[in-house]
């Protein structure tokens, strides 16, 4: 307890005392005053976020070409960005509905494991996903081999269809989780009631499931739409050319090939307008969603016992599992032989990536933890959480362009490539971190706030004895997400890096672009192992020996 409180503290013990409390005169009691240290940290975090998103945007705006003149290719990029995102979102959600319905009403061995595995593509580095899809749908992949054997024309993975395929691969799991949550939010009693009234599965669809889908599907679609607007690595690997260039890729090309900062900045403004619109839409439509937790319930549904429905559900679940797990399996198989004969620059890139991932994780926690704790104590705390998600609307390449514009006059941006990548990755992981931490911090305050106050548990002792033990699981989870996302990120680094400062995803992309297939496959496996490994270590560390 602070020394300052000594005169008032003596009232609290039963030692004979004539002390008179001095604080009593003020209308606000001392314990109701804000915790200045925490407030300062939270404000600092807010400042960092605002500078990174809106500050870089301002830098971009000042540098952008004026008068604004858009070329034909720019319009093509805007059109492609919008329609590929719309189509990717629509397909992801449409395919997710039968899968989620199957998972909601079927109990089978491995169901829990499958739902956990559905989370894996979220942690999978995007460039690795692209490579896995190439291995299956590419020229030499199993799909084309099968089509060739049947005498059918082959499919091409490069181009718009490849971009959309990859986006569906990456977002189908998210869509499935969102829709599954919708299904499980219907109370089991409703199904029982409907059953007791003699409803068949078509009536139940109309009465219960259709209204749920109408509430859930638009939100899920908008989130995926927004994610696909800012997708970069997929388009870099599978798109390009006049038919499949997004605004994000056009920014990169203006930078890398023309070194035209003014044009890159102008494209950055366009990109921001697109994402801000999508984010505003999403903000109105999307319900808060938690990862993990609560998806293990199965509603027993006698209306769905019909054999045709069983076959339908089994097919949906099986095809989704194969579609989502096969590319990862292929990476493992193709990459394993070359893993220990990788060129030294790949190992050096791994070292740099680990360094970036750990730094980024530390930064992400430094932003998310104070924000979550502050939001839990403050009456308008949810506004803070909304602010934290501002970075969802931000495009990494716009932030990167802005930082480049700011740094360029003073020093070589490539010297700062790694710290900047870490910082931008931290900002991009922040929404997920906050989503894991903020509700937990709120619970601690609601469940133990009064008890802690009544015992005088405050300051550092409270942090050590209450906050840390109660929050270590979500902190571990958030750290794992941040580390894995940063490990696999191929975005800002592509703008800043010179040949000597590539991270592992960039190094892997370079090997792919050089058609060094064995090395790139091995590097992909290495990257996959590093991303999943980092997540596992942090998540595990948060759980280990944590009392409940």
């Amino acid at each position: 307890m602070a020394d300052r409180s000594q005169p008032v503290k003596s009232v609290g013990t039963r030692a004979p005392s004539s002390a008179t409390p001095r604080a009593a005169a003020s209308t606000i009691a001392p314990w109701q005053k804000p915790n200045y240290g925490l407030t300062a940290l939270a404000l600092l975090a807010v400042a960092v976020i605002v500078l990174l998103t809106l500050g870089t945007l301002a830098a971009v705006a000042m540098r952008a070409d004026t008068p604004v003149t858009l070329r034909v290719s720019d319009w093509a990029a805007i059109r492609f960005t919008l329609w590929q995102a719309a189509l990717s979102a629509a397909l992801s959600v449409a395919l997710a509905i039968p899968v989620a319905r199957g998972l909601a009403r079927r109990r089978f061995p491995g169901r829990g494991l499958l739902i956990t595995a559905l989370g894996a593509p979220f942690l999978l580095p995007v460039i690795v996903a692209a490579m896995g899809l190439i291995a299956i749908f590419g020229r030499n992949g199993v799909v084309n081999a099968g089509l060739g054997a049947l005498g059918l024309p082959e499919v091409a993975i490069y181009g718009p269809q490849g971009v959309i395929l990859a986006h569906v691969f990456l977002n189908l799991p998210l869509a499935t989780r969102l829709v599954l949550q919708g299904w499980l939010s219907i109370p089991a009693e409703r199904f029982r009631l409907a059953e007791s009234l003699g409803c068949n599965s078509r009536d139940i669809m109309r009465l219960l499931e259709w209204p749920m889908l109408r509430a859930v599907v638009p939100g899920a679609a908008v989130v995926i739409f927004a994610v696909c607007l800012t997708s970069f690595a997929v388009v870099l690997a599978l798109g390009g050319g006049p038919r499949a260039t997004t605004v994000e890729l056009a920014i990169y090309q203006a930078f890398r090939f023309d070194f035209d900062l003014g044009r890159a900045a102008l494209l950055g403004l366009i990109q921001f307008a697109l994402t801000a619109t999508a984010a505003a839409l999403a903000f109105g439509l999307v319900r808060p969603v938690m990862f993990g937790g609560g998806l293990d319930r199965v509603v027993s549904r006698r209306d769905a016992d019909h054999w045709a429905l069983r076959v339908q559900d089994s097919l949906a679940i099986l095809s989704a599992a194969v579609f989502l797990l096969l590319p990862m399996a292929v990476i493992a198989v193709d990459g394993a032989p070359g893993l220990f004969s990788l060129p030294p620059q790949v190992w050096a890139a791994l070292g740099r990536s680990l360094w970036v991932a750990l730094l980024s994780t530390a930064m992400c926690l430094a932003l998310a933890v104070p924000l979550a704790l502050f939001a839990a104590k403050w009456r308008h705390g949810r506004a803070i959480e909304a602010l934290g998600t501002l970075t969802i609307a931000a495009s990494p390449l716009v932030i990167g362009t802005g930082l480049f514009v700011v740094i360029f006059p003073y020093m070589r941006p490539s010297d700062l490539a790694l710290p900047i990548t870490a910082l931008v990755n931290a900002a991009l992981s922040l929404p997920f971190g906050l989503r894991a931490l903020a509700p937990a911090a709120r619970d601690v305050q609601a469940d133990y706030g009064r008890l802690a106050e009544s015992l005088g548990l405050r300051g550092f002792a409270r942090l050590r004895l209450l906050t840390w033990p109660r929050l270590r699981r979500p902190i571990g989870f958030a750290a794992g997400l941040a580390a894995a996302l940063s490990m696999g990120d191929l975005g800002v680094i592509a703008l800043f890096a010179d040949p000597d400062s590539a991270t592992l995803p960039l190094q892997m992309y370079r090997l792919m672009a050089a058609y060094r297939n064995d090395d790139s496959a091995a590097a992909a496996l290495l990257l996959l192992l590093a991303s999943f490994g980092l997540f596992w270590i942090f998540d595990r560390g948060g759980r280990a020996d944590a009392g409940t």
């Binding site: 307890m1 013990t13 405050r458 004895l465 033990p469």
Partner: protein, 232 residues
């Protein structure tokens, strides 16, 4: 002497008026219809609900400006009295030092307090390994070590069965007598009040009335209390 003078305790839209005095060492029950403000009264004394007017005094010193932990009182809540991630001895030790930097002598006092409530073997266990009654005992052991003159109980035994509840009430009465504590206990059962409280505060319609002798109040209840109690 615990005094509430012209106190208006705010709890959102709702407020409780209290103008009353409790003599030191008295055991007082707080009774009244649900939603009438029993818990709000305790929250006001403990510092969890702000006063919009008036004062709370202990032995003529104002305490309504103090943080909850600095007030001359201990509180046992309806639930959530223990930190689930700390063991029993740590939970009790918080009564001595919230930062748990306990000296050898202080650790002996923790052991002694656990012995007093009959849990001498349980120090290393987590609360989840304890029964509901044992958890209440841990909270009371912590009250012993906090060594504050006033004890507030907000229906802490409501979830226990009758026999266990009586046992806990008797333990509370014993501890209050040994430590000459001033006790305020919210209850919804008039038999609890008769069992351990010589005085009873009736809280009804947003007013906490001054304490009266428990038996006299319950034998001839005013209209509002009669409606709540029904035929006893």
């Amino acid at each position: 002497m615990l005094e509430l003078e012209g106190a208006v305790i705010a709890n959102g839209e709702f407020a409780v008026d209290a103008d009353l005095k409790i003599a030191p060492g008295t055991r007082v029950a707080v009774i009244g219809p649900s939603g009438a403000g029993k818990s709000t009264l305790l929250a006001g004394i403990a510092g969890f609900a702000p006063l919009s007017a008036g004062q709370v005094r202990w032995n003529d010193a104002r305490i309504d400006g103090l943080a909850p932990g600095a007030r001359p009182l201990s509180m046992v809540f309806q639930e959530g009295n223990l930190f689930p991630h700390l063991n029993v001895a740590q939970n009790v030790g918080m009564g001595l030092r919230p930062d748990l930097h306990l000296s050898q002598a202080e650790q002996l006092r923790v052991t002694a307090a656990l012995e007093r409530v009959g849990l001498e073997e349980m120090g290393k266990r987590r609360p989840s390994a304890l029964s509901g009654g044992q958890q209440s005992r841990v909270a009371l052991a912590r009250v012993l070590l906090r060594n504050r003159p006033v004890l507030l109980l907000d229906e802490p035994f409501a979830a226990l069965g009758p026999a266990l509840r009586h046992e806990m009430l008797d333990l509370v009465a014993d501890i209050a007598a040994e430590e000459s504590l001033t006790l305020l206990m919210v209850t919804h059962d008039p038999r609890d009040a008769r069992r351990i409280a010589s005085q009873t505060i009736l809280v009804a319609e947003g007013v906490a009335h001054p304490p009266r002798a428990t038996d006299a109040l319950l034998d001839d209840p005013p209209e509002v209390l009669r409606a709540y109690l029904g035929a006893e």
